[in-house]
């Protein structure tokens, strides 16, 4: 009997798949393994040890950079999610208006602008702002992170709103609920998984960002990724592996949480 087309039955499928997975995960596995190396090398194994985790945890630069990363990610992801929610409501829960498609494209455009271009543009404008205002705090980084997170946060919220049955909001209005009450009691609770997903996505993206942060930060404003980049320029020790491993673990936890939450709510 002839079977329908399936890539699994194409010659070389298994080999290609294994090669792809190896390419993706072998470097990461190697990195994680050498985080537990007792020797000060990322290539020669000297036995199992938690030494480099200890070194990283007692390094005040690492702690400072981590705290800063979390501060920026928390504030930026929160702001981006709020703005993205408002944008998603404005593009799905209003009567169609002129330029709606344009606005939709406009919101998503940052996804297509190369990050280095945004970074250079921000570098120039932030330098001018610093000169004019004299302010050189974390505000610039937070603003920059908020900006690039908005389109990523916008997509899951908009998708959730578009899949939501409009008759629910209509039913609420029919039952004497004013628009704000409808939003609070019906739209928002049903939108919640989308908002949570958007927040987690924005949080991870902000935590992970190197290019924009590197261009926008002032002296002494290293985040964990830019600190690591700076250290690696001076030579690699398994301390970097240890930090990377911790970072990886955190990302995996957040992304898993995101999937669990969004699965549970649908």
């Amino acid at each position: 009997m002839r079977k329908g087309f399936s890539v699994r039955h194409q010659p070389g499928f298994t080999a290609i798949a294994i090669a792809c997975f190896a390419l993706l995960y072998l470097p990461v596995v190697t990195l994680v393994v050498y985080a537990f190396n007792s020797a000060p090398s990322v290539a020669a194994w000297g036995g199992f040890s938690l030494h480099w985790f200890e070194v990283a945890l007692t390094n005040s630069d690492v702690i400072d950079a981590s705290v800063r990363s979390f501060q920026i990610a928390t504030v930026a992801a929160t702001l981006a999610t709020v703005f993205a929610t408002m944008a998603a409501l404005a593009t799905t829960r209003t009567r169609r208006y002129r330029g709606q498609t344009f606005i939709y494209a406009f919101i998503n455009q940052p996804l297509m602008v190369p990050e280095i271009v945004t970074a250079v543009a921000l570098l120039i404008i932030v330098a001018q702002l610093k000169a004019v205002t004299g302010y050189s705090g974390l505000g610039y980084l937070i603003a920059a992170h908020t900006a690039f997170c908005i389109p990523f946060a916008y997509l899951p919220i908009r998708a959730r709103l578009e899949n939501m049955d409009l008759s629910l909001e209509r039913a609420a209005a029919d039952l004497y609920a004013k628009p704000l009450y409808t939003f609070r009691r019906v739209t928002l609770p049903l939108l919640w998984p989308g908002i949570l997903g958007a927040f987690m996505l924005a949080f991870v993206l902000s935590l992970d960002d190197v290019v924009i942060t590197e261009f926008v930060k002032s002296g002494g404003q290293d985040t964990l990724p830019t600190y690591m980049l700076g250290q690696i320029r001076r030579g690699i020790t398994p301390e970097m592996n240890a930090i990377s491993t911790a970072f990886l673990l955190l990302s995996v936890v957040i992304v898993t949480l995101f999937f669990v939450v969004s699965r549970k709510c649908t």
């Binding site: 049955d165 008759s167 629910l168 209509r170 039913a171 029919d174 039952l175 009450y181 009691r185 049903l190």
Partner: protein, 366 residues
């Protein structure tokens, strides 16, 4: 329990309502010059095929849509442009639209809470409503774990809880299977009787409309063709569409010679003539169409009103349909009740005479 007699007071007054989408020549007219007065405590049905404008009209009464022109009055005050949350009107939606993140009790409480009713009153009212629809035992259940019939009851309880002036029902029974639909039909009648609330019911099911309604408005292509009691609509259809949409009908054409006292004589092609009911606005002469319901005709001995040949005899259990070819060439069906077990004496090929019951023939607009 309230007084449930239908009064002459008007609950909903729809005056010359028109709804057009687009403008100019290409405009689509969803509703054209609709004028209806729905009375207090009435079970009023908007009946018509899909796309006839019945749901559009319901949406405008609820406030989800606004007329292009005309006005809608509720107990005498103009509500045409009020938003839905300011209208003392509640809706039972076709897909129920129950809030999936709330329990049954929370769904029922929603309208009362939105109105800012005190907590104790809300609680008492929710309990009363759940008792009314026999769902007390499911108060804490999520609505997505319930059957269609149960969801239907929750939707009813939720819409009735705030004691609306008018309850709108948008084809609420169409998603239910036959047996459950029959059950909910009598349930709806009971609820309407017990609450004394005016019901406006939308359906495309003519049988549902006939059995449940106090009055029916038959709609087609954005127009209201006739408003009347189920008996009036069935026995005295004013329009060819109304006659064909509701029940089975024989259509015959003939020449009319003058109308007097609501009666007229029509001469058929075969030369035979029939006395028909004709409204005063019927044409005074010329060719007209009239209807005879199959059950209002019978095969008789002697001359009768019409003559024809039996082409086919179809047995239906409770009755038998005789398909005739009249002497003028028209097709005509007679429905005979099977009153005895011996069966019909009439056979295919037989020439018969047909009598039309007194007052059963009715002139309709073509």
């Amino acid at each position: 329990m309230k007084n449930t007699t239908i009064s002459d007071d008007c609950a909903v007054d729809i005056r010359a309502v028109r709804k057009a989408y687009g403008a100019g020549e290409s405009a689509f007219v969803a509703l054209d010059n609709a004028t209806v007065s729905v009375r207090e405590n009435e079970f009023f049905t908007l009946l018509g095929p899909s796309g006839c404008g019945k749901t559009t009209l319901l949406r405008m009464i609820a406030g989800f849509d606004y007329p292009t022109s005309g006005e809608i009055l509720l107990n005498g005050s103009d509500i045409t442009s009020l938003p839905p949350f300011q209208r003392p009107v509640n809706t039972v939606f076709q897909n129920y639209a129950l809030f999936p993140h709330m329990t049954v009790a929370e769904n029922v409480a929603f309208g009362l809470e939105a109105l800012g009713k005190p907590r104790t009153e809300v609680k008492a009212r929710v309990a009363e409503m759940l008792r009314l629809v026999q769902l007390e035992h499911l108060a804490g259940r999520r609505t997505n774990q319930m059957s269609g019939g149960q969801q239907q009851r929750v939707a009813l309880a939720r819409a009735l809880a705030p004691q609306p002036k008018v309850l709108l029902l948008d084809e609420p029974l169409s998603a239910l299977d036959y047996k459950l639909r029959k059950e909910m039909q009598s349930e709806l009648k009971r609820l309407q009787y017990e609450t004394g609330i005016t019901f406006i019911f939308v359906t495309h099911d003519q049988e549902e409309a006939l059995t449940m309604s106090d009055r029916i408005a038959v709609m087609s292509a954005g127009r209201i063709l006739q408003i009347g009691t189920p008996r009036e609509i069935y026995n005295r259809p004013a329009d060819r569409f109304v006659a064909s949409f509701i029940g089975e009908t024989n259509f015959l054409t003939g020449a009319l010679h003058g109308v007097a006292n609501g009666k007229a004589k029509i001469t058929l092609k075969s030369g035979q003539s029939v006395v028909v009911n004709a409204a005063s606005d019927a044409p005074a002469s010329g060719d007209v169409t009239f209807i005879v319901r199959p059950e209002h005709a019978s095969v008789v001995e002697g001359s009768g009103d019409l003559r024809g040949i039996v082409e086919k005899v179809v047995y239906f259990g409770t009755d038998t349909h005789l398909h005739l070819r009249l002497s003028g060439g028209e097709a005509f069906t007679v429905r005979q009740q099977n009153g005895s077990v011996s069966g019909s004496a009439v056979e295919a090929g037989q020439a018969v005479a047909v009598a039309i019951a007194e007052g059963a023939a009715q002139v309709v607009r073509a």
